[in-house]
């Protein structure tokens, strides 16, 4: 029994996700990961004197999409404010963010258990630059390529009560953002970041305890570990009669523990005020409707449909809705050839293994071509082995499966007459077979079949041959 058993854990998350725009949020520099330092920069994102921010429309659209994905209310009037503090990664010494009037308000995400985690808000803001610390040279290098790229910040209510719930929540957020092409959410590149606010309260009570904030959580695993560490740490302090200090703690993934950041960091007064360089944004009902019309059904909705309408197992439905691309691909294939489970098998078994090394999945064959191959196999025009052979060729040549099958002479082109002729020939030449067939057809069918296949190069349709055998003999 640990100290923690006497307490309820109260967790709120702040999640940052980088939006998938072509350009930065307030200037026309490329929003791109991995370029040479300071090559995607301009007067605006390096905060030069006289430079002014100009808001990227698509960033606003994506933030609204995120809001719509989680059932937020979209504010008809929202305001950018300046968050003022000095740090070298912040070129203007203020971050343009939103405080009093965020773009999206409220919202909810339902966990598998049915528990609802409420969102407080989603707002749009700019990212900071990147610092590289070179200890031996005693210097820090500042690269503003990432400075000014668009971020959404999602803030939850303190509705989460365990590390498992937190991770499930994060997965759901990531799934939705990736699915709608709002964000890449690559945690290892900093494309999705998470801060955890955590406090404890004695079981059965309702008053919140003092909370701490944990930063620098770079993976789902570290979120989980950091939460467990912090919950236990607080439980020990409280059980020993101590008090929790409201502080910011930094998680050290190698050591598996968090430590308090310098107290100076905590006395921040950001002096927010509306940015006079930017006007408030008006989002009309029509704007929202338009953005909504560009959105497809959410993964959860699609999954339900795949199971109910297509009769797919849960496992298939999960994999097929893991990204919007795969899900769209699958649905389009089904439009070409309505055999959802067969298509699903091909995608899950044969296509996904081809692209497992790819960072961003793109299947090397069009939906129409894949559907054609599946159809040929299902209609027994070719067998599965030939089908796989054909798949390889289509990928190699990008020709249509029908054309290739003909060119490669893969098709079953033996006519009924040819089969009949062969069978009659056999009957005439080999009276014993005919006689044996009359006594025990099962025993010799195999032999006859073998004979036909041998003489047709294996291209005869076996079902057809079987049928004709019973006729002739």
């Amino acid at each position: 029994m640990s100290e923690l058993d006497n307490f309820d854990v109260v967790i709120g998350l702040e999640i940052h996700a980088e939006l998938k725009t072509k350009t930065k949020v307030f200037c026309s520099c490329k929003n791109e990961f991995g370029a040479l330092p300071n090559t995607n920069t301009c007067p605006v994102c390096t905060g030069m004197p006289g430079a002014l921010p100009v808001l990227n429309k698509h960033a606003v659209e994506l933030a609204i999409k995120a809001g719509l994905s989680f059932g937020c209310e979209i504010s008809p009037y929202s305001v950018f404010e300046r968050k003022n503090y000095f740090y070298p990664d912040l070129s203007k010494a203020y971050q343009i963010s939103q405080l009093v009037y965020p773009l999206c308000l409220g919202g909810v995400i339902t966990l598998d258990s049915g528990k609802k985690v409420r969102l407080n808000r989603i707002h749009l803001e700019e990212d900071a630059g990147k610092l590289t610390h070179i200890s031996h040279a005693g210097g820090t290098l500042v690269d503003y390529n990432r400075g000014g790229t668009p971020l959404i910040e999602m803030v939850t209510e303190p509705d989460i009560s365990s590390a498992e719930e937190a991770v499930e929540f994060l997965r759901k957020v990531r799934e939705a953002l990736v699915f709608e092409d709002i964000a890449n959410c690559k945690m290892e590149e900093g494309g999705m970041r998470c801060d955890v606010n955590l406090s404890l309260r004695p079981k059965g009570t309702t008053v919140f305890g003092t909370r701490t904030e944990m930063k620098n959580l770079n993976s789902f695993k570290s979120v989980e570990r950091a939460i467990n560490f912090e919950a236990n740490r607080q439980a020990e302090v409280l059980s020993a009669g101590g008090v929790i200090v409201q502080e910011t703690r930094k998680w050290d993934d190698d050591k598996g523990e968090s430590f308090a950041m310098r107290s100076k960091e905590q006395a921040q007064d950001y002096r927010y005020f509306p940015d006079p360089d930017l006007l408030p944004i008006e989002v009309t009902k029509e704007d929202v409707e338009h953005i909504k019309s560009e959105m497809t059904a959410l993964p959860a909705d699609r999954r339900a449909r795949y199971i109910e309408e297509f009769g797919l197992p849960q496992y298939d439905a999960n994999i097929l809705t893991s990204t919007k691309y795969i899900s769209d691909y699958f649905e389009k294939c089904v439009e070409f050839y309505n055999a959802p489970k067969k298509i699903s098998n091909w995608i899950m078994v044969d296509l996904l293994k081809l692209v497992k090394e790819q960072e961003e999945i793109v299947f090397p064959i069009s939906e129409q071509h894949l559907a054609s191959i599946v159809k040929m196999v299902e209609e027994k025009v070719i067998n599965k082995t030939v089908g796989l052979q054909l798949l390889d060729e289509v990928i190699k040549t990008q020709k249509s499966p029908e054309v290739l099958a003909k060119e490669m002479n893969l098709l079953v082109t033996i006519s009924d007459e040819q089969i009949l002729e062969l069978l009659n020939k056999l009957k005439n030449e080999n009276a014993k077979v005919a006689a044996d067939y009359k006594v025990s057809p099962d025993k010799v069918t195999g032999f006859i079949m073998g004979y036909v296949m041998k003489n047709t190069g294996g291209k005869a349709n076996s079902a057809k041959v079987r049928e004709l055998i019973s006729k002739v003999f």
Partner: protein, 470 residues
């Protein structure tokens, strides 16, 4: 030929008609700047202006199409960026700064074939009303060097008045164009907020700043404004100000009761009464009320420092300002560089701005000021429903001696009493010289409603004529 006696339009027409060349004009003004260097009005002459002038002359000679400012030299305030040229905001903090890009206003001037002659002195980061807070040394009044040029665009006003250039751009946040124009006897304009792009102009108070010309005549200001105005993709706060207005045979001038109460006891009060009387024959004159106009100055000294403190935070010794020699760690790069780099007045306003923004005071000061600002705007709208323009003094009196108000910030701040309301409510205003007390000129202002610049220019041309100082 003495080009210093000509207006910008006269010079422009002379060049266009081949009476004289841009090269002659530009060389003349360069010589003027050199001869009157002690004024400290022009802090750097761009000698390549002569090459630009030659290019324009060539175009004219070849009958190529040229812009409406072809060959005319114009100076720019030291807070306006022109790629490859130094720009310092009169601050030693920016003493090595070379503009890496060009401001929209300069682009627009260049696209009409104007020739940029040099940069003019100012109060550091445009904070001040005397042009004494400057790393280049005090700028002197064009009429008497013992006296201040006013500020913050003191260099621009003094340069035009002294005949160093026919036009200079300034910036006006609370009167920084109109007050020095008044003290030097030239015309200074501030357009409707958003008319002129702020891109490439170092921000003081973003919601109040407007760049605009100082010239010898109203007509010159009108022409230059039309060139530099326009919606700019680089500045979200710009508007498409077409400045169209209905011409009337008789305009109505408003006199604000609350302003008159303040003005009557000032040095210029008597002259101002005389002006109203003279104008009574030409205009319908009505009294208007703007009950909270006197609170504009308090709003200004909350809103402007708040924005400035944030705008000036980027000057930190990391990216483009001088870094303190002694700075060994990040904190000292910030603190030492800024403490050594900024002058007193700038520091005062940064501190004040942080005070009104800091937690616990934000609502009482900043939010309150923003609300009072809207209230005053409403009162102005009401006033403009009774008149075309509102007439008021530009300054309480004529120029003052160098050093006289330096130790009394409040007295200095009150220099902006009559100019600040135009920035607080965003409306256009123009200062026109109309009288002299002794040898020193005095300006009167016309305020018009948003986008009504053309009405204002029409009325201002009449005031200019009646005043007869031109």
């Amino acid at each position: 030929m003495d080009f210093s006696k000509l207006s910008l339009i006269e010079i422009r027409d002379g060049i266009a008609s081949g009476k004289f060349t841009s090269e002659e004009v530009v060389k003349f003004f360069i010589a003027q700047c050199e001869a009157k260097k002690s004024l400290n009005a022009v802090v750097e002459i761009f000698y390549d202006a002569v090459d630009k002038a030659k290019e324009v002359d060539k175009k004219i000679k070849n009958h190529e199409k040229v812009g409406v400012l072809a060959g005319v030299p114009i100076a720019i305030k030291d807070n306006i960026l022109y790629k490859g040229k130094k720009m310092g905001c009169a601050s030693k903090f920016l003493q090595n700064f070379v503009a890496p890009y060009t401001s929209t206003v300069v682009e627009k001037l260049l696209s009409e074939d104007a020739v940029i002659l040099g940069r003019t002195n100012m109060d550091e980061f445009a904070m001040g009303s005397s042009c004494e807070n400057t790393c280049y040394g005090v700028c002197h009044n064009a009429i008497d060097p013992e006296y201040v040029a006013g500020g913050s665009s003191g260099g621009s006003a003094s340069a035009v008045a002294a005949g160093l250039v026919p036009c200079a751009l300034g910036t006006d946040t609370g009167g920084s164009i109109r007050q020095p124009a008044s003290l030097n006897g030239v015309v200074g304009l501030k357009p409707t907020y958003g008319t002129v792009s702020r891109y490439g102009i170092v921000a003081f108070a973003s919601s109040l700043d407007q760049a605009s010309p100082i010239c010898k005549t109203v007509e010159d200001c009108q022409l230059v404004l039309k060139v530099i105005a326009g919606k700019d993709i680089h500045d979200s706060t710009t508007i498409d100000n077409k400045m169209t207005s209905v011409h009337k045979s008789k305009y109505t001038l408003g006199i604000c009761r609350q302003v008159m109460q303040e003005a009557k006891s000032t040095q210029g009060g008597e002259e101002f009464y005389k002006l109203i009387q003279k104008l009574g024959d030409i205009f319908d004159i009505v009294q208007v009320d703007i009950p909270h106009i006197q609170n504009s100055l308090a709003c200004y000294y909350i809103i402007a420092p708040a924005e400035a403190t944030s705008n000036l935070a980027r000057f930190d010794g990391v990216k483009y300002t001088v870094r303190s020699e002694g700075a060994k760690d990040l904190e000292s790069v910030y603190v030492q560089s800024r403490s050594e780099g900024f002058g007193r007045e700038v520091k005062r306003r940064i501190m004040l701005g942080n005070y009104v923004l800091s937690s616990g005071y934000f609502d009482a000061y900043y939010n309150k000021a923003k609300r009072v600002q809207k209230l005053i705007k409403r009162e102005f709208n009401e006033a403009f429903s009774h008149c075309d323009c509102i007439l008021m003094p530009t300054t309480a009196g004529t120029t003052f001696k160098i050093g006289e108000k330096l130790s009394d910030p409040i007295a200095m701040y009150k220099e902006d009493l009559f100019t600040v309301p135009a920035n607080i409510v965003g409306v256009p205003a123009i200062s026109v010289p109309y009288a002299k007390i002794g040898k020193f000129p005095l300006g009167a202002q016309l305020y018009a409603n948003d986008l009504n610049e053309d009405v204002m220019f029409e009325v201002a041309k009449i005031v200019e004529k009646v005043g007869g100082v031109k």
